[in-house]
Amino acid sequence: MLERPDSGEIWFEGQSISLGNSLQVAGLRPKIQLVFQDSAGALNPRFSAAEIIAEPLEIQRRETGARLRERALELMEEVGLPPDWANRRSLEFSGGQRQRLAIARAIALKPAFLILDESLSGLDLSTQAQILNLLLDLQSAHSLTYLLISHDLTLVGQIADFVAVMHQGRIVECGSRQQVLGSPQHAHTRKLVESVRVVESAFRAAQGGGGR
Amino acid sequence: MKYLFRRTVHGILLLIGASILCFLFSDLAPGSFFDEMKLNPQISSSTIAALRAQYGLDRPLPVRYGSWVRSAFRGEFGYSFAYNTSVRSLLVLRVRNTLFLTSLATILAWLIAVPLGVWMASHPGKWVDRICMGATSLLISLSELVLVLGLLYFAVRTHALPVGGMASTGFDRLSVLAKVWDLTAHLIVPAAALTLASLPILVRHVRACLVEILGTPFIESARAHGVGRARLLFRHALPAAANPLISLFGLSLGGLLSGSLLVEVITGWPGLGPLLLESSMSRDLYVVVGIVMASTVFMICGNLLADVMLVAVDPRLRADLRAE
């Protein structure tokens, strides 16, 4: 456990894991993984790309030696990074590429559940779109479940099946996408949806005006 | 104000800790003042034992420490076996002499180091910078020991300066002006040696500080705004450098009593250095402890002063304190 919960419970695959003892936690680690927002801080700048991706495998002792490296290269290809960059240090990569590295590392242990903590913020729009596509491809390829934390409502609206809205540290509304975004109940949710509509209509108006 | 109080308490605790450590260190050594006497076959061992008992050397460490603390409160700071007087009376004169020498050297060193360091930092890589960096490297390598010996050599060879001690014989009979001149002449070699020894490190620190600050974005934007060189330096860069420089100054102040051992002994300047050496050799325990503690007090006060000055000068720290 990286943090201890103050209150409430966490359930995973039908079991409560919030007060997990170390054995339970150790068993769960491969199944739940985390991709941080700050890719630069989340990757050791002195490690090479291959070392970063291979690290979880090394720690969990899934593979060793040459097989370790092969697996790392496989993962690099899967996330769209050229394998001959395997020996480059992580600080030589661009923001989008670092996120790919972080994702590759996160799926190395073949998890079922992936938490993406603001992983797309801080990237420019075109890179965001690329990473998003990657995530969707990986999801269908490995049957992943994502928990995406984001402040970008449009993004959420595009890909989420279920949505939970947080306000001042509490979940104020949750439900399916159509429910929450189509007919928001809570005041805060309504404000959020409204602000998106304002931006979208301005955008469409600008397009319409310029296009003709 | 509260900060001052907290830091003072912290300082006092440090002092107590240091004194305990000091006593522990001195207890490491099994020797004592009376070991020399043991070598003399005419003095019986029972006499020595009686002497030890008289001076309380046979009592356990905590007891000895306790009586030393009591003596400190009385103002005596222990007793010198060799000189048969309170440690305080021995130290007062010596501290005065040492402080005289080291304050002069420290002031000189800072007066030269700051402008030089600033100059070097504003022209990095140019020949002035390179030459001075080389010179400082050389001076650091030629340690204090070599510097003082070298200066002594020149002083003796040229017969220009008196060598050794603080005053010539017949000092009392000189007129006031002559006394001042005599004192100055005796000061030159030790003070020059000390200044030359501490100068290079100071210069490097000042230069490093300033180079770092001159490279920061806020200086660059000021420069882009067209702020002139002098104003940039004095109104923007130096105040920013104040923080590390004040800490450095605190260290310099703290080292006033402890930096001059070598120079004093070699040039015969009657300060703490020769006394420490002598007392160490003769195992005059409480004198050694007294000297070490005196230096420690200075070090703690130096740091304390630096901390207080930092808070007074740096508005960020004041805000931090207010937020607590």
Partner: protein
């Protein structure tokens, strides 16, 4: 890269010096303890390339010093015979690095001439040889004491930074205590209070232990800072998320960050500790005669007549300065490399 070249040059210089000192028996032409009572305070032997007849010799030669009949402690060269410099001569016996016996010396001249590259002292002992073997003591003391300080500092600083909270608090307070004491005074005090009847080896080891133990605080602070900031990085959290143990984290992520600082600190501390040993020996608190040490060699300069008349007795100071300069350049180069790699 400029920084890399600088490091290389400085390291080469240092390695050469250390090799010369390590193989002092080989490099030195004479035995450091052998006295030549006929040649007290002889000045350095002059190397000549041009002989009396004006011929140029590629191989330098020396003339033997003979005492001036009318003056005291003054010498003149006796021009009757030239003694060319020979290499790999057979001379006094010694042991290579204290183990293998040998008689070969790097250079020398035929008997009865002797070559005193740095002059002689009051007993006629060759100063050059004494400087080289004295270097073994002084430099070894510096290096060993540095090792002690750094090991202690890394252990304490690392534990404090990694496990934090009260361990950190108490460790840093303890370090503060050590930093506030005037270490030179404490060193003198402790050394002087030690028993007088210790053997050379015991004195040496004790000296190193004391010098090294006093100086752990500053490296500890630095290491602690690095460990603390490394521990709080997100990639360490990520590793923990993968199930990494503390040992793994320390080994793979945290400790590698300390190597740069450790090297720089080592390069800074060695000359300081060599100087500490030299200072102690200078005042007679280090190793005693006849074991040479740079401090002991310099101590004769405290006598007025030696200081004034025999300038070659300053030679150990040159050796000390060269060693310090070497280490300082290395430290600067490391520091530069560290700065450039972290930005």
């Amino acid at each position: 890269m400029m920084a890399r070249h600088k490091i290389l040059a400085a390291v080469v210089l240092l390695v050469t010096l250390h090799l010369a000192i390590l193989f002092a028996g080989f490099v030195a032409p004479a035995d450091p303890v052998v006295q030549n009572r006929d040649f007290p305070f002889a000045p350095p032997t002059r190397l000549h390339f041009v002989d009396l007849r004006g011929h140029l010799h590629l191989r330098p030669f020396v003339y033997q010093w003979t005492p001036r009949p009318d003056a005291f402690n003054e010498y003149e060269e006796s021009r009757d015979r030239e003694y060319p410099l020979q290499f790999f001569v057979s001379g006094a016996a010694y042991r290579v690095a204290g183990l293998v016996p040998s008689r070969v010396h790097l250079f020398g001249v035929d008997a009865p001439a002797q070559i005193f590259l740095a002059g002689t002292d009051s007993y006629g002992r060759d100063q050059f040889s004494r400087i080289l073997s004295g270097g073994q003591i002084s430099v070894a003391a510096g290096i060993l004491a540095t090792l002690i300080s750094l090991v202690l500092g890394t252990l304490i600083g690392g534990v404090a930074g990694f496990w934090g909270k009260w361990i950190d608090e108490s460790a840093m307070r303890f370090a503060e205590l050590f930093m506030v004491l005037p270490w030179l005074y404490v060193l003198f005090g402790v050394r002087a209070f030690l028993p007088l009847h210790l053997s050379s080896v015991q004195t040496f080891l004790l000296l190193i232990a004391v010098i090294g133990t006093i100086g752990w605080a500053r490296p500890a602070r630095l290491i602690r800072g690095i460990v603390l900031s490394a521990k709080n990085q997100n990639y360490v959290a990520a590793s923990r998320g993968f199930g990494a143990s503390n040992v793994y984290l320390l080994r793979r992520h945290v400790l590698p960050q300390t190597y740069g600082v450790l090297l720089t600190q080592a390069a800074l501390l060695v000359p300081q500790y060599v100087l500490a040993e030299v200072t102690l020996s200078f005042f007679g608190l280090g190793l005693s005669e006849p074991t040479p040490s740079w401090g002991g060699l310099l101590a004769t300069l405290q006598q007025y007549n030696v200081l004034v008349s025999y300038w070659w007795m300053f030679a150990p100071a040159v050796a000390l300065a060269v060693v310090s300069l070497g280490y300082l350049s290395v430290a600067n180069a490391f520091h530069e490399r560290l700065q450039s790699s972290s930005s």
